[in-house]
Each structure stands twice: as structure tokens, then as C-alpha cells.
């Protein structure tokens, strides 16, 4: 009897300790980064570019680069991901092709970002002659995020009732018309969730961008920016912390990233909840 009680006690103790450790980690990480980073965020830091003459560091170019790369990646990844998902759920009849596409998506989601960076550099920067540019980085990230968009779209396509499709077919609509007017509007939530998850991953990505998008801090407009090299916030954090030893700047960027990822997390949950509610009505 006592040994059973001991077992019970020990297991509960382990559970309690593990949960406490996990919680403690989350609180510590967020607290520490915000505590170290928030005091260093100034308007000057956010609104200027780095200047060797004045000896100041600003992260405006990095913020803009992040924005450009997010936009460009979404432009590439959305049509591909949504298209592939529509093909899989609406068109595909060949079982082997479906298996091949799904296996490919699983493989893509398992490949580490450093390998994406390397092959992106080989394919886009050298072979296609784009050199180190935000556009090459965005294309690399598009391949990387393809499975995410595909999966969320597929999930929500499955929730579009079959009766809707049959009703539309019964009224004489062709397949493309059914997809355009019935299926695609029904999977908006999946696409939006996919977008939000992508943005989160792009914000956090560094290894895949280091060799494809580079780490320049020049201030550019959208179109010039896409064809020239530039660091996103995450890459800038790495460069400032590891190469330059500017830890105050690094923590400021880390705090900004922390706040942004939290916002993205909240947005994803909110969107999920909103569409679930609308669907259940």
C-alpha cells in the first residue's frame, strides 16, 4: 500500500515540477526580454537608419525589410498553397498523385531552415541570377511556408458541406464556377489562419534568410528594396548580438519581436474563434 502511495506522490510531484518549470520558463523568457528590451526602444531607434557618421543605430530599414519580405512571400505562397489544396480536395482522382503531393508537403515541413537557406542561395541567388536580395529570400520562404498554407486551407475546405457543392452542380454550374463561387468563399478562414501562421514564421526566420536576403541595413522603397539585399528584424537581431556586440539594440529588437509574435498568436486564436462561431450559427 505504501509503495502505491509513494508512486502516486512521486508521479504527482514530477507533474507539478514539470508544469511549474514550463510556466516558469514562459514567464521568465517574456519577462526578461521585455525588461531588458523595452527601455531601449526609443522613437529614434524606430525611425532612423544606422549612421556611422553620427554613431547611432536605427532599425527602420529592418522594419521595412521585414514588411516587404512578408508581403512578397504571401504573394508567392498564397496562390500556390491555396491552389494545391483546392486541387487535392476538389480535383484529384489519382490516388498516387495525391499521396505524392501530401508526402512532398510533409517533407517540406520537416526540412530545417538552414537547408532552405542553402538551396535558396544556390537556386535563386546563383542559378537564377537574382543575387542576394529580398526577393530571393521571399521565394525561399514561400517554399518553406507552402505546407502551412496548404494544410490550413485543406482543413477548412473539408468543412465546406458537400451539399453546397452538389446544390451548385445541380443548378448547372461547372466545376470552376462551383470552386469560385462556393468552395473558395467557404475556405476564407483557412486562408486567413494560414496567412497569420506564415507571418509568424517569417518574423521568426533567420537561418533561411542569412544567405538569401543578406544583412544590409539600407533604407529602400518597396521595389528597390525587393531587388537589393536587406536584413529583416530577426537577422538584424542576430547580427547586432553576435557580430557587433550591440546587446541593447538586440534586446530592443527581441522585445519588439516578442510583442509581435504574441499579437500574431492572439490574432490566430481570435480568427479561429470568430469563424467557428459564425459556422455554428
Amino acid at each position: 500500500m505504501t509503495s502505491r502511495k509513494l508512486y502516486d506522490f512521486i508521479m504527482r510531484l514530477f507533474m507539478f515540477l514539470s508544469v511549474a518549470l514550463t510556466c516558469g520558463l514562459v514567464l521568465f523568457l517574456i519577462g526578461y526580454v521585455l525588461y531588458k528590451g523595452l527601455p531601449n526602444i526609443t522613437w529614434k531607434l524606430l525611425s532612423t537608419s544606422p549612421s556611422y557618421l553620427a554613431g547611432t543605430i536605427g532599425i527602420l530599414p529592418d522594419i521595412l525589410n521585414t514588411l516587404y519580405i512578408v508581403l512578397a512571400t504571401l504573394v508567392f505562397v498564397l496562390p500556390l498553397g491555396v491552389g494545391a489544396a483546392v486541387y487535392l480536395t476538389e480535383y484529384a482522382q489519382n490516388k498516387r498523385l495525391v499521396d505524392a503531393i501530401e508526402y512532398a508537403a510533409e517533407t517540406l515541413s520537416g526540412i530545417p531552415s538552414i537547408i532552405y537557406g542553402l538551396t535558396g542561395m544556390l537556386i535563386f541567388c546563383s542559378f537564377l541570377g537574382m543575387r542576394t536580395s529580398l526577393l530571393a529570400g521571399a521565394m525561399t520562404l514561400a517554399i518553406m511556408n507552402l505546407p502551412t498554407v496548404m494544410r490550413t486551407t485543406q482543413e477548412s475546405l473539408k468543412t465546406v458541406p458537400q451539399a453546397y457543392r452538389e446544390g451548385a452542380f445541380g443548378l448547372g454550374a461547372g466545376k470552376w464556377r462551383v470552386i469560385r463561387t462556393v468552395v473558395l468563399p467557404g475556405c476564407v478562414d483557412g486562408v486567413i489562419t494560414g496567412c497569420i501562421l506564415c507571418v509568424g514564421r517569417i518574423l521568426g526566420e533567420s537561418a533561411a534568410l542569412l544567405f538569401t536576403a543578406g544583412f544590409a541595413h539600407a533604407l529602400n522603397g518597396l521595389f528597390k528594396g525587393l531587388t537589393s539585399a536587406g536584413a529583416t528584424l530577426t537577422v538584424a537581431l542576430y547580427v547586432y548580438a553576435k557580430e557587433n556586440g550591440e546587446f541593447e539594440i538586440a534586446f530592443a529588437i527581441a522585445a519588439i519581436l516578442m510583442v509581435l509574435t504574441t499579437c500574431i498568436h492572439l490574432a490566430a486564436t481570435a480568427v479561429g474563434r470568430y469563424f467557428q462561431k459564425r459556422r455554428s450559427i
Binding site: E106, P112, A207
Partner: protein, 292 residues
């Protein structure tokens, strides 16, 4: 009528293309890695490359042995699993079986938040907090070591382990647990001797997923592991497969043997990942079959 039919054909073609591009990307990545990875292996020789114990790519008499990197990646991943899996597993059991609904949703949100933190932020905190702590605690000249990398990796794989094992534990049929309780087992005995074994494929999948994440992580490890190409030892500065690629890529000259050897390292890493993916698919499939 004819026009409508051709529109249908075009639409189908476009969607098919989108699907095929996914497959094309995987093929392209594989072909590119193999093609650019093989020349250096051919030149150095497979055995000296994989089992050579010294990496001195910039020396006057360069040698390209990546055994230190392979072993470091294996040890580092194993360490991360040993530290991270128990914590993740116990947390998942608590969340699935024991936690009140409110606490569960808060904790789940916290774990997802942990998953969303960029790896460079882990690296930065590791660099500023963990590395100095290890240096002081163990009286080392430098805290940047395999041990620091293990801990950072363990924290980074924690969210995926918790999430995947949580799903597996939630899927265990209620009847199993009721039967066990009715036979007189205590709650903890039921959770750990009935629910956990019933969810073992899913938990195995969680571990394999963790292995994949840990072996592929580059930036956080780069910031805390010290980056010297030593044979692995727990308190020494080490270099992983991922960081070996990342750290020399920016300055290796185009077309040099050094750069080609870096591609070969990436190829080795890719083969590891393919093995892990195969294992993951195996466990996930078995888990699905067990639940139906």
C-alpha cells in the same frame, strides 16, 4: 459551350500545376543538394569525410573530417531529448488528465507562445543568461558549450513535444481509463500505466518530431555553442552540422573545396532529416491506426 469547357480545362490545369509545384520543390531541393554535395565527397573520399576527426578548412594543409559535427549533432540532440521529453511528457499528462479547463487553456496558450518565439531570441537569452551562468556554476573559462546548446534545444523542442503528446493522450478512449479506475487503480496509476501506454505511438511521434527540430536548429545553437570544431565534450565549445554550414558559408570562396564541403555537410544533414521524417511518418500512421 466550347468556351466554358476550355475554361474548365484551364482551371484544372492551373490547380494541378500548383499541386505539382509542391512536389517539384522537394525534387529540386533534393537534386540540388545531391549535385552540389557529391563533388566534395568524391574529392575528399567518403570515409575520410564522414569519419575524419579534424576539420581544418582554412589551414595550409586543409583536412575535411566532419565526424566532430556529426557526433556533436547526435549528442546535442540526445541531450535535448533527455532533458526536454520528460518535462514535456509530464506537462502533457497534467494538461490532458488532471488540469481544470481554465488552467488548461491558459497553459496551452503559454506553450503555443513558447513555440512562436523566434530562435534568435532563444539564442540571445541563452547567450546573455545561460552561458554566463554555466561559466560561473562550473568554473569554466567559457560557458559557451555543448551543455548550453542542449538546454536551449530542450527548451525549444518543449512546445512540440507537449502539443503532440497532448493530442495523443486526449485521443485515448475514456473507457480504458474508466475500466482501470473501476478495477481499483489509482488515478496516477491509470494515467501512467494505462493512458500513456495507449498513447505510446503518438508520444513516440512527439519525440521524433523533437529530434527533427533539434537536429535542424541553427541560429540559437550558433549563439550558445561556441562554434569551435572540437570533438564533442559536454563543457567544450562545439560545432553542430547546422552551424558548420552557417558559420563558414559567408566567407568561403565560390567554387573552392571548402564551399563544396559545406554543401556536402548540408547533404549529410538532409539525409539525417529524411530518416527522421520516415520514422515520424511511421509513428503517426501507427497512431492513426491505433485510434481507429
Amino acid at each position: 459551350m466550347k468556351q466554358r469547357q476550355s475554361i474548365e480545362h484551364i482551371a484544372q490545369g492551373v490547380f494541378l500545376c500548383a499541386g505539382l509545384i509542391t512536389v517539384g520543390c522537394v525534387l529540386l531541393i533534393t537534386v540540388y543538394l545531391v549535385l552540389s554535395g557529391l563533388p566534395a565527397i568524391a574529392q575528399i573520399g567518403l570515409v575520410p569525410f564522414l569519419f575524419g576527426r579534424t576539420w581544418a578548412s582554412t589551414a595550409a594543409d586543409p583536412s575535411y573530417g566532419i565526424l566532430p559535427f556529426i557526433l556533436t549533432s547526435v549528442y546535442g540532440t540526445a541531450g535535448a531529448i533527455v532533458i526536454g521529453v520528460p518535462v514535456g511528457f509530464f506537462t502533457a499528462v497534467y494538461l490532458s488528465k488532471c488540469a481544470p479547463k481554465r488552467i488548461r487553456s491558459v497553459l496551452e496558450a503559454a506553450v503555443s507562445l513558447l513555440a512562436g518565439i523566434p530562435s534568435v531570441v532563444y539564442g540571445l537569452v541563452g547567450m546573455m543568461v545561460l552561458v554566463p551562468f554555466i561559466r560561473q556554476a562550473f568554473r569554466l573559462p567559457d560557458g559557451a558549450s555543448l551543455f548550453a546548446a542542449m538546454i536551449v534545444l530542450a527548451i525549444m523542442i518543449l512546445p512540440s513535444i507537449v502539443k503532440v503528446s497532448l493530442n495523443a493522450l486526449d485521443a485515448v478512449p475514456r473507457e480504458y481509463e474508466d475500466a482501470s479506475l473501476a478495477l481499483g487503480a489509482t488515478e496516477t496509476e491509470t494515467w501512467f500505466r494505462v493512458s500513456a501506454p495507449a498513447a505510446k505511438s503518438g508520444i513516440a511521434a512527439a519525440v521524433v518530431l523533437g529530434v527533427g527540430r533539434a537536429i535542424g536548429e541553427a541560429m540559437a545553437v550558433m549563439m550558445v555553442a561556441g562554434n569551435a570544431p572540437n570533438m564533442p565534450s559536454i563543457f567544450q565549445s562545439v560545432r553542430f552540422l547546422t552551424t558548420a554550414v552557417a558559420s563558414e558559408m559567408s566567407y568561403a570562396a565560390d567554387g573552392s573545396l571548402q564551399k563544396q564541403a559545406l554543401y556536402s555537410i548540408a547533404l549529410v544533414l538532409y539525409l539525417f532529416i529524411m530518416l527522421i521524417n520516415a520514422a515520424l511518418n511511421f509513428f503517426l500512421k501507427r497512431d492513426k491506426e491505433a485510434n481507429t
